[in-house]
Each structure stands twice: as C-alpha cells, then as structure tokens.
C-alpha cells in the first residue's frame, strides 16, 4: 500500500490510484469536468489541479491523471490552486455561456461572472467525454476531435452522417453542457 497525505490527512491506496480517486474515497472534494469514473482519465479541463510537493518542489498537477506515490503531499485548496481554478472557471464560462451546469459549478467556487470574451463561444467545453464514451463504452468510435487549437470541434468522420453511430445517445447523456442532443431520424 502507498502512503501519502491529502490536506494533511494521512491516507493509503493501491499502487496506480490517482489523487482524484483517493480524494473521492476519502470524501475530499476536487472539482472536475472532463472526468468520469467509468472512462479513462483525460486531463483536459484542468479544473482538478491540486498542489503537490515532489522532492521539495511544489507544482500544480491534475488530480485525475496523477498517481499517488509514497510520501506524496497533496493540498487541494492552496492560494495558488484557487487562483488558477477561478481563471479556468472564467474561461469555461466564456466558452459555454449557456451551460447551467458550468454556471452552477463555477458558482460553488465563487465565480459568477467572466471578464473574458472569446471570438466564438459554442457551449462545448471540449471535455471529450462524448468522444471517450463512444469509443470506450459504446465501442463505436463514431465521433472524434477534428482540427486543432481554437478550431477544434467534435465531429463524425468528414462531418457526414456516420454509419458507425448506432444512436445509443451515450454521448448526449454524458455531455456536461447540453451541447449534444439526440434527434429521431426517419430510417
């Protein structure tokens, strides 16, 4: 068993456990958006950043992908964490202005408004839950990310109706912003 501390609480976990899993187990709350317990961690939303100390060096690391090791010291709510978490919430609010879910989550951490404007907000946080659920659970790989940078979108191949899609609706189900909807098609 691996021994470490989160917020000064001494904890133990199996090797390969992530900080987030350990914190959830211990009832310590860390905000997440792109994490889902049944999917592989992805590390894209950066909400779960926590401060760790390794060989005397403090740094911020994503709790959802970072694995615990012996002697690891984790702090989930330091000033440094809070400062950047608030900025991330502002960015998410700017990107997904209509998402009630993100507004609620942001409000929990004291962020009500955003000072940021983005050229082209589209209510998709690019968390990749839909892409991953389609690949890992439905095993269809009907959708994926296309393009890069600020042009990144979630699409079917060539943005055409996908023969891979069986209409299971898992993508719409996991979508945290309500960007994906399911429509009945004729055939």
């Amino acid at each position: 068993m691996i021994k470490f501390t989160i917020n000064n609480i001494e904890l133990e976990a199996e090797e390969g456990t992530t900080i987030l899993e350990a914190a959830n187990e211990a009832g310590i709350k860390i905000p997440t958006l792109c994490y889902h317990k049944d999917l592989k961690p992805y590390g894209a939303c950066r909400l779960c950043m926590v401060e760790i100390t390794k060989r005397g060096w403090p740094s911020l690391q994503p709790a959802c992908t970072y694995m615990v090791f012996d002697g690891l010291i984790v702090e989930t709510d330091t000033e440094r964490v809070i400062k950047s978490r608030k900025v991330i919430f502002e960015l998410l609010l700017a990107r997904c202005p209509d998402s009630e879910n993100i507004k609620k989550l942001a409000a929990e951490y004291g962020v009500i408004e955003t000072r940021i404007t983005l050229a082209d907000p589209e209510n998709c946080a690019m968390c990749g839950l839909c892409v991953r659920v389609c690949a890992e659970i439905s095993q269809r790989e009907a959708i994926s990310f296309a393009f890069r940078g600020d042009k990144r979108v979630v699409q079917t191949a060539f943005d055409k109706m996908s023969p891979q899609c069986v209409g299971c609706g898992a993508c719409a189900y996991v979508c945290p912003t309500g960007r994906i909807t399911v429509e009945e098609a004729d055939d």
């Binding site: 590390g43 894209a44 939303c45 950066r46 950043m49 911020l60 690391q61 994503p62 992908t65 970072y66 694995m67 440094r80 400062k83 950047s84 900025v87 991330i88 960015l91 998410l92 700017a94 990107r95 000072r115 940021i116 404007t117 983005l118 050229a119 946080a125 690019m126 990749g128 994926s144 990310f145 393009f147 890069r148 940078g149 600020d150 042009k151 990144r152």
Partner: protein, 727 residues
C-alpha cells in the same frame, strides 16, 4: 561497398582526401556551391547550372563541382567557395549566373581572384580538440602527393626537434590529409596562426622550429602565402561574422560534400562510434556524456547523460532512440541546416546513444516540409548501412542499431515529446500527462531516449575529444556551443555557432553586424514562441540556459530574432500568442481558451479598445495558463506577453491610455498627415498612392483622405521633402 571494421576508417578517410586532391588534377579546382535550403531559395540552383554549363563549354573537366551545405551567412547567398590547388579557398557571395561565369573565366581558368565579388579567403575557425590543449598545432600533410615529396622525413625531423627542445606538452604535430596546396608539398600548417609553409626540406626544419614555433616569428621565405603580400581580400577568420564563431556542431559545414560518407569519414567521422564500440563500455560512454555537461538543445536543457543513464537502467527487450527534428519554431532553421550540412554527425550520435542505452532501433522524426534534409538523411542512412556502420554487427562488433525516418506533417506541437510519440504510433498528436518519464515508458511503452538533432551532433565530438575538452567551453552550467538562427532586423542574418556565455551584444553586433539602416536596437526575441523578448538594457547578458530564463526568456531550440526601434512590442506579443493559439492542439482549456483570451485582449489593445485593468487581467491569465497547462506549449505560451509586459509595460500603457502606437505599427492607432509647410506640391504621393487616398492638384498642397488611407506607407517613402508624417 564492403562492410568495414574500425581499422578501415582511417584508410577510407585518407583515400577520400587523396581522391579530392587527385580529382582536382594539377591545374584544376573544386568549387563548392553552398546549397542549403536557404541557398537554393536565394538562387543557388541557377548558379550551379550556370557553373556546370560554363565548365562544360570550356571543357574544363578537371574542375570538380560540389553541392555543399549552407556556409552560415544566409543573407549573402547564393555563395560559393573556390578551392584552386595552390591557393587558399576563396568565398564569393551574392552570386548570380552571370557573375559566376566571370568567376570561372577569371579565377578558375585565369587564376586571378575576382576581387569585385570575393568576400573572404581561407577557412573558418573550427574549434579543434587538439588546438585547445596545445599552444600550437603543427599539421603536416601526409597525402600521397606530399609523402612522395618527403613529408614523412619532415615529420620525423619535426618530432626530433620538438623532443630535443622538450616542447611536447606545448606543441602537437598532427598528420593531416590533403589540404589543397599539395602540388607544392610537403606542406605544413601552423595553427592557430593559420600560416602555411610549402616545398619544405628537412634541413629547413630546425630554423623553422626555432623562429616560428619558439620565437613566434613566422618565416616568410618558406610561406605559401606571404602575409605581407597584400591580400586583396580579407581572411575568412578576420571577417567579424566568422571570427567570433566556434564550430563544434557545424564543424563540417560548407567544407564537405554532405552526400559522400567518405568525406565525413575523412574528417574524423565515425571514429567516435568505433571508439565507443571497441574501447568503451556503455557505462563509460554515459559517464563521458555526463561529465561533458551536455544539455539538451531542443528547449528544455535537460542533462543528456542523465537521460541516457535512466534509459539504460530500465531493462526491457526493446528500447528506442528518437531524434527530434520537428523544428516547429517560426524563424528557426538550425536543425534543418545541421542535417543538410552534416547528416552523418547526427546518425553517428544516435548510434552511440543506441550503444550506450542498449537500443537497437532509432527514429528520426522530421517534418515533411524539409524535403532536402529528408533526402540527405535517406542517402546517408543508405551509405552508412552499406559500410556496416548501421544495421547488424556494426563495424564488425556485436552491436546492432538501425534508423528509420518518420515524416511528420509539420505541427509545432508534434515537437513536444508525448505528441511526437503519439504521432509515430499513429495516434493524434496530443500531449498526455508525463508523470512517468519516457526513459521508462516512451514510444510503444518502451524505454526511450528523445534528443534534439543538435544534441546528437555534439555526441561524436565529445567521445572523440573528451568530456574535459568539451566542458571547458561555455559557462558553469551550460557547456559547449549553441547554434542559433539569427534573423530579423540584423545585417548578417544566418546560422551562427557560438560558445555558451557569449553576450547578446557580441552576437548582434560583432557577428550579426548590427542593425541595418542605423536604426536603434530595441529587443531580441529568443527561444521561439515559448521564449521572450529581451530589451537593450540587457544586451550584455551572457547567453546560457540560466541567464536567459532569469531574463524571462529561454534558450529554446535557438531562434534569435532581432528587433529594431520600428517594432511594436504589443504587436510582437500578439504575433507569438497567435502562433501558439493556432498551433495549440486544443486539448486543454488553459492553452486553447486561455491563449485565445489573451489574443482577444491583445487584439483589442492594438486596435484602440484597450481599457483599464487589461494589463492585470493579462497577468492573471498568464499566471494561470503557465501554471495549469498540460504540456510545454501551454506552459510557455504566456512568455511573450509576460516578458514584453516586464520590459515594455509603458508601451502597453500608451496603447491603452493614449490610444497610440509609439512604433507606428498598430494601424488603427495612428494616421498619416501632410505637413503643409514642408509640402513642395510635387504630387509624387498622389501619383504613387494605390488607394486614391490623396487629394492633390497642380500647385496645391497634398492632403490625405483618412477613410481611404490603408496606411501602406508608400506616400511617406516617396516624399522627397519628408512632408508626410505619422501622428
């Protein structure tokens, strides 16, 4: 081609040198056309064609034409080097097909240097291992020609004289291959004085040793080119651009034919690999690299020896060596030039790494936009395999190592280690968390060494000349040299290699020749999009890893962009952020949306919409983006903004408060106006304006119509009376 053993290298090298000498014949010559991608872009191909045509027409078959690499001074290309048998090499710059015909007629056939186009004479100063330890290095040519003329007797006599005077610790005698003067052999060159002696007899030697080597008085009568015989053109080593450079990585640039492995072998090539395989254990190699202090040249500056050691420690049935030749920074061309100039130095470095860590498979990840470098690599890998320098049983030992080229589609983020691996594995090039190092689980989950092109090119030199020798170049924690691509507002744009610790001022002014048009230096951007801008007040900063990061920039892979007073620093920050936003993979929120947020604010400031609180918001965003982003791209994305805010905050403030751009770059923030008192009513501005934005009639003062003006600057440039101003 036969597979060779370690003992064959010297013979192949000697044969290659003799071959060069013999091909030149007695009256002939060798012309090196510097055909890097840069040279070709400047027109080197048409120069090459013109040369070939002219030589054919004149039936001068004993003139050898060689496609060589960039000689570094890219702003004066096309460039050629003419080596006529008994004269020092002459470099010609700014060549055209017409000029080159002149050179053939007058220089190659007529024997007269064309001083009008000639730039310099002699070679560059290469940082030779042996020179450093010894006060003088006496090189005795032992090519077939010189040996036939008695070179060995000369060497024996020299050895005896040196021994008699007990000067063995100070002066080294080194046999070398042909150097071009051999019809007047035996030849002897004294370095670093750069003085050649010719037609020597053994009885000349005691006097020569006493006068030159002991008393420092060169013996004119025996010299090949008397120093006082007024040379019409300066020596290459005296040209400021070349003088302060020290070539370690670029040791073979522009002097060998990179398409011939034999020429590389003739210049100490593959000796380090042979030495490693036959005289050193893998641990010895790693220790040597560790002791040399070599740090990665790809950006991060990680200790190379430690990386190798860690990879060696992780036992596995398969390990990989990857050479990172993605080179995605705008304005950077170091790695491309190294590969084009000396591909085998990279291949040899990788093979040594393979032996050291226990890997049998290497990859070179190179962007597809580098067709010439790829062709060179393909050709070179082929040759190395034929000689048995790659493949199974290298140099007759039981060491196996092979290299495959992987062509990337050319995205900045593909240079990042985890994206690069994903790209080779056939996945989308998106970074992932790096809690477990690649040295443990890298490519295909196997222990992997990833190093930059330049890092590998340093390796053979360190093995050949020793860690101690390497470690004495540079500063405390930054050893060796660094290759930079010097670009922007600088007279001599090009590829330069300098010892670590040289000041920015020396690089910009001595090597770069300063700023064109007597403009003032404003800043230098180092480290590519991840780096920052350093202001004039820090020109005396020594360039090394620590000093650059303390100044808010970084070494990066070696881009250096010089900016003069006409550059707007807010605009510069905007440019680099825009590049990063474009090149971001888009996976993590902080890099993708954070970058875009920065860009939106900068765009607003540059178009007159800046408001109070913008700078604080920029800083807050920068701090968060740098702290939480997934990979190095996002982590370093804020640097251009942070460094310009640190050194040029007042410029941001003028943009926001006064809605003015002091450098007159941000178009919405200034207008052109005609000063009535200065206008001579000539109408030139009216005539040249492409947008019909000028009102003018005969004998009338011109006037600029603001809504039509596109601020193209032409009116201001054509006005002879400086009557057009900006405000």
């Amino acid at each position: 081609m036969p597979r060779i053993g370690p003992e064959d290298l010297e013979r192949i090298g000697r044969e290659a040198k003799n071959d060069i000498c013999a091909k030149k014949g007695t009256s002939g010559a060798r012309v090196l056309v510097h055909m890097g991608t840069c040279g070709i872009a400047a027109g080197a191909r048409s120069v090459m064609t013109a040369l070939a045509d002219e030589i054919e027409q004149r039936k001068a078959e004993d003139i050898v034409l060689v496609e060589s690499s960039c000689a570094g001074l890219c702003s004066r290309e096309p460039m050629i080097t003419v080596e006529v048998n008994d004269k020092p090499a002459v470099k010609y710059v700014d060549m055209t097909p017409d000029k080159v015909k002149d050179v053939v007629a007058k220089h190659l056939v007529g024997g007269e240097i064309v001083t009008e186009y000639a730039f310099s004479m002699g070679g560059e100063r290469v940082l030779q291992g042996r020179n450093v330890a010894y006060r003088l290095n006496v090189m005795v040519c032992t090519c077939t020609n010189c040996v036939a003329n008695g070179a060995l007797q000369i060497k024996d006599r020299l050895d005896a004289e040196i021994k008699a005077r007990d000067l063995g610790n100070e002066i080294q005698i080194a046999p070398t291959g042909a150097n071009g003067l051999c019809v007047r052999g035996p030849i002897l060159v004294v370095q670093p004085d750069g003085i050649s002696y010719q037609s020597l007899k053994p009885e000349d030697i005691p006097m020569l040793v006493e006068e030159h080597l002991v008393n420092g008085r060169p013996v004119k009568d025996l010299m090949a080119t008397p120093v006082d015989g007024e040379s019409p053109i300066p020596a290459t080593q005296d040209i400021p651009f070349f003088k302060s450079q020290r070539l370690v990585v670029l040791r073979n640039r522009g002097v060998i034919d990179p398409s011939k492995i034999e020429e590389y072998i003739a210049n100490d090539g593959y000796r380090a690999l042979a030495k490693a395989l036959t005289e050193m254990t893998p641990e010895d190699v790693i220790t040597e690299i560790k002791n040399s202090g070599l740090r990665g040249r790809g950006g991060g500056g990680f200790a190379t020896g430690r990386k190798w050691e860690s990879t060696r420690k992780h036992d596995d049935d398969m390990k990989y060596i990857i050479c990172n030749a993605d080179e995605g920074d705008p304005g950077a061309f170091m790695d491309r030039s190294i590969i084009e100039a000396d591909p085998h130095s990279v291949i040899e470095g990788m093979a040594i790494a393979g032996y050291a860590v226990g890997s049998t498979q290497g990859y070179i990840y190179i962007r597809v936009e580098y067709p010439m470098a790829i062709e060179r690599l393909n050709e070179s890998l082929e040759q190395a395999k034929e000689y048995g320098l790659l493949g199974k049983g290298i140099l007759g030992t039981n060491c196996d190592f092979d290299i495959t080229i992987f062509k990337g589609a050319g995205a900045f983020v593909c240079g990042e280690s985890s994206s690069l691996r994903a790209s080779i594995e056939g996945r989308v090039a998106e970074p992932v968390s790096k809690q477990i190092h690649a040295t443990e689980k890298g490519l295909y989950e196997k222990p992997t060494v990833l190093n930059n092109v330049e890092t590998f090119a340093n390796v053979p030199v360190i093995i050949n000349w020793g860690a101690d020798w390497f470690a004495q170049i540079g500063t405390d924690k930054s050893k060796g040299t660094k290759v930079f691509s010097l670009a922007g507002n600088v007279v001599n744009a090009g590829l330069v290699e300098v010892p670590m610790g040289m000041t920015l001022r020396e690089i910009v002014y001595s090597i770069g020749g300063g700023i064109p048009g007597n403009k003032k230096f404003k800043a230098i951007q180092t480290g590519g999009p991840s780096g920052g801008c350093i202001p004039a007040s820090l020109l005396d900063l020594p360039v090394d890893y620590q000093k650059l990061s303390e100044a808010g920039s970084m070494m990066g892979s070696g881009g250096m962009i010089v900016m003069d007073e006409d550059v707007c620093m807010v605009d510069v920050a905007k440019y680099f952020v825009e590049f990063c936003v474009d090149e971001s993979c888009g996976k993590c929120v902080s890099c993708r949306d954070g970058g875009e947020a920065l860009l939106e604010i900068l765009k607003r400031i540059c178009s007159g919409g800046g408001k109070e609180g913008d700078l604080e918001l920029l800083e807050e965003l920068c701090s968060a983006i740098g702290d939480v982003s997934l990979c190095g791209l996002g982590k370093s994305l804020p640097n251009s903004v942070l460094s310009t805010l640190r050194y040029f905050r007042d410029e941001y403030e003028v943009h926001i408060r006064d809605k003015k751009c002091p450098a007159r770059v941000c178009k919405p923030l200034f207008v052109y106006r005609v000063v009535a008192e200065k206008c001579e009513k000539c109408g030139l501005c009216f005539e040249h304006c492409p947008s019909q934005a000028i009102k003018w009639e005969q004998n009338q003062i011109a006037e600029i119509i603001e809504d039509r003006c596109t601020k193209c600057r032409i009116c201001r440039e054509v006005c002879k009376y400086e009557a057009v101003i900006t405000e």
